[in-house]
Symmetry: C2
């Protein structure tokens, strides 16, 4: 990558320190989740906010700011230069419009809120969390005001996680989705094949961790994960993080009563990791160096997890491996049951356990809640009840407890309003990418042979390498030739589940 | 701890940032040794030097410096206040006397030298390392000049690792030692019992890692390691590091042909860790927060490794554990052989494999070499040959290759001249502590019962808790009531090995 503009060159030189500090912080956060002994957590929190504040100060540094503001007014010629200044604009908008004490105060409130939320969830006591939630929503309304928006304050928040996404766009997509998803779920769960699914996972079965580890390493290698530039560890909740351009780490978790979870969740996280490992190395240390948005990231991780990992043809090709490790546990399980068990559709209360079909409904619920809360259309004190009503309407189930309702997710306790929709966007992006990929790649044949590297290569060429060069809308257009259309996802689901459950 | 002086309070407030940054850097270095994927090393080096430079800049910050210089002139009353200003003086002496570009240049030279040294050692080519070594010795001579000294430039370097230690003092102690050690080694290795020792370790025996891990966890717990405030991992070379006051991590290494190494080396590292875990928590974030010197640290680690871990009575008490894990491998080994195998005395070429008796001779060799090199009494180009001569004289063996001679240690490649003597000082301190401990604690009875917590408690009360409050000389006096005397160590060795090998 050649940067011609001399002002931008100077900006990038200073930006490298922001990148460096962010990677250092990522290392500490990774260690927190993977290794930290309990008594180390207090000091680790101090270390982590010290680095956060240093990053904020780098953005607020007057020299950096004036260089950036000069670069904005200059004529930039290459696609890369323009993308760099556009991406810097996102940081600038945040750091230069939102007063520093609001950033710091919100961080502090969120740290406290996290502890209170954990207790509230344990005690199933929404009222306990109410004051924190009220404060955090107020902070995000204030932040939205400082960031600016045209129609809806929630747009300013959505834009932080998924550039250019608006509430109106979400409404359009999600209304289309839910109209079809709700009946599809009913159709599946009422089918004859569904009720005949054999379950082979239970307390009586045991899948030792070392075997699961071997399978996890096998699948990562087959997906093309570069273990010279990354690793896999164990943490309570699986995640992926970038410690430097050539050090992308994922985590997984082994449940000895069910081998499927570590398998599909590792494919999910490896999907994130392949994106980061595949970015053009020239972008190292610049604002182009990472995946462009949460939504695109989720499109790739969920692509590997669901569209590959739970694909019947792929499961057919890997089932001999499962059978060889779990001969005793699986000997009575026929292949149809195995495939169905990976693709059980079950409206449930908890998002993180949701299947591929109902998952988006969980997200739509959260989108509607957030939109109404930020706009004051729902009173925060009534939110737990509204959650219940929406859950009943969308999923057909509702929890008596708030622990399994409004208190189930950590996101609001972090003050991350606007984050959830990116998960559902990922499903839509992914299905549209898949439809395009199928024009060039004989997907079924590739899966039948287990040639996963061919898939990775397509993703490298068409998506991974660009990092943050194109914003999601532009990327979708560039890759698929058309703008985002939710029917790809609906068609994908209908086709797949009609086959698995013999739907008419 | 109450700090009365208001200037010192301000100094300490700023010093907390140095402590914070050092802990952040320690986390990155720990990860480098335990986890880092190969391609991550380049960026990690950049991250690490970025933090080093930040720490240097905190010391050079004019506000910090002027506060420190004001505090020096003020009247301080408590022991803690005086110790804090004395310890800060060590950092100040270094950062305010040695020009910043020399510090940075030496760091850079050492980074390059490390790579060259590794190649040179591989190729058994001292000449290849010669230019790097010459530069590094020059740097250390320059640094010594900036630091200042009375008699010998080497004193300025020794003082960096072991406060107040001088070359003259080393000479006095080491000459006394070697006079006795050389004949003692001969006496042991010529004894009848020595030649009858049965070896049970070899390629034919196999000690699986999971079993060794269980024993390692067992012994750490019995020594009183707080696993809520630390952990154990695997690295190529075992080490101990402090990631924060309540996060002390050790590493070990499992050799499947010999279970003894992970056992004694874990006791060694846990000895370091107990020191750090035992420091008065009030000292957190101040210059009193860590162990006072490398020598005192080694005295504790080597105390646990050798004086406890290889003690015949202790080995008798733990041998049922070894036998239960390694029933097959050890079934033909009687207890006497087991004890002798932990205490085999064998003059050898390589320091890190050396036994308790010959170890100090390896250090004396290095001390003499460094003293002569820094003073220009030996030409650097002749050093490999001088090494060989000294090895012959002290140990009775000399290597034909430089890889197993002058190139064996990493320390000089780091430019750490003055470091080695602290290892031998550790042996002397440890034996003197042991003699004192035995007046209060029935050591043999404690070991027979495996009551290691009683030993830890004595160390907590008499040594650990003080952190860096007392300098080594003062600490020895305070704990043992007398000044350092090398005969404690000689008596300890003579008595122990006379029993094990039935010496007359």
């Amino acid at each position: 990558m050649k940067i011609e503009n001399s002002t931008l060159k100077k900006v990038l030189k200073k930006y490298r320190e922001i990148s460096l500090l962010s990677h250092i912080k990522a290392t500490l956060d990774w260690d927190l989740n993977v290794n930290l002994p309990p008594l180390g957590s207090e000091t680790r929190a101090i270390q982590s906010s010290y680095l956060s504040e240093m990053i904020t100060n780098k953005w607020l540094d007057t020299k950096f700011r004036s260089l950036y503001e000069k670069a904005v007014t200059e004529k930039l010629t290459t696609v890369e230069e323009k993308a760099i200044i556009r991406n810097l604009g996102y940081g600038a908008k945040y750091y230069y419009n939102v007063p520093k004490d609001i950033i710091i105060e919100k961080d502090k409130t969120a740290s406290e809120a996290f502890i209170i939320w954990r207790q509230a969830r344990e005690e199933n006591n929404y009222k306990k969390f109410l004051p924190s939630l009220t404060k955090l929503i107020d902070f995000d309304k204030t932040i939205a005001r400082h960031l600016g928006y045209k129609d809806n304050p929630y747009d300013a928040l959505l834009d932080l996680y998924e550039p250019e996404l608006t509430a109106a766009e979400c409404e359009r997509l999600f209304n289309g989705l839910k109209k079809e998803l709700v009946p599809l779920v009913k159709k599946i769960t009422k089918s004859k094949d569904y009720s005949n699914t054999v379950s082979f996972v239970g307390a009586s079965n045991h899948y030792p961790t070392p075997d699961q580890e071997r399978i996890v390493h096998y699948i990562m290698q087959h997906m093309g994960f570069n273990s010279q530039a990354g690793r896999v560890d164990i943490s309570a909740h699986p995640f992926t993080t970038e410690l430097s351009r050539h050090d992308i780490r994922i985590t997984t978790n082994y449940k000895e009563t069910d081998f499927r979870e570590s398998f599909t969740s590792t494919m999910h996280e490896t999907g994130h990791a392949l994106y980061e490992q595949g970015v053009n190395p020239d972008y190292d240390g610049t604002p182009l160096a990472s995946g462009v948005s949460l939504g695109i990231h989720e499109s790739l991780s969920r692509f590997w997890e669901n569209m590959v990992g739970k694909n019947p043809i792929f499961l057919h090709s890997v089932s001999p491996i499962f059978k060889s490790f779990y001969q005793k546990q699986l000997h009575a399980v026929d292949e149809k049951s195995l495939i169905q068990s990976f693709n059980t559709v079950q409206p449930s209360l908890i998002r993180i356990n949701a299947d591929e079909v109902t998952y988006s409904l969980h997200i739509i619920l959260r989108f509607e809640m957030e939109n109404e809360l930020i706009n004051g259309n729902v009173q925060i004190k009534d939110a737990a009840e509204v959650w219940r009503e929406k859950s009943k309407k969308l999923l057909g189930v509702a929890s008596a407890t708030d622990a399994e309702g409004i208190l189930q997710d950590v996101h609001w306790a972090y003050g991350s309003f606007g984050y959830f929709p990116s998960y559902a966007m990922g499903n839509l992006y992914g299905a549209q990418f898949l439809a395009t990929m199928k024009k060039k790649v004989d997907f079924d044949a590739v899966l039948a042979k287990g040639d996963l590297l061919l898939i990775k290569e397509w993703l490298d060429t068409n998506i991974h390498q660009y990092g943050s060069l194109y914003f999601p809308k532009e990327l979708i257009k560039k890759v698929t030739g058309e703008k985002l259309d939710y029917t790809f996802f609906l068609n994908y689901l209908t086709e797949k589940y009609s086959r698995i459950y013999n739907l008419k």
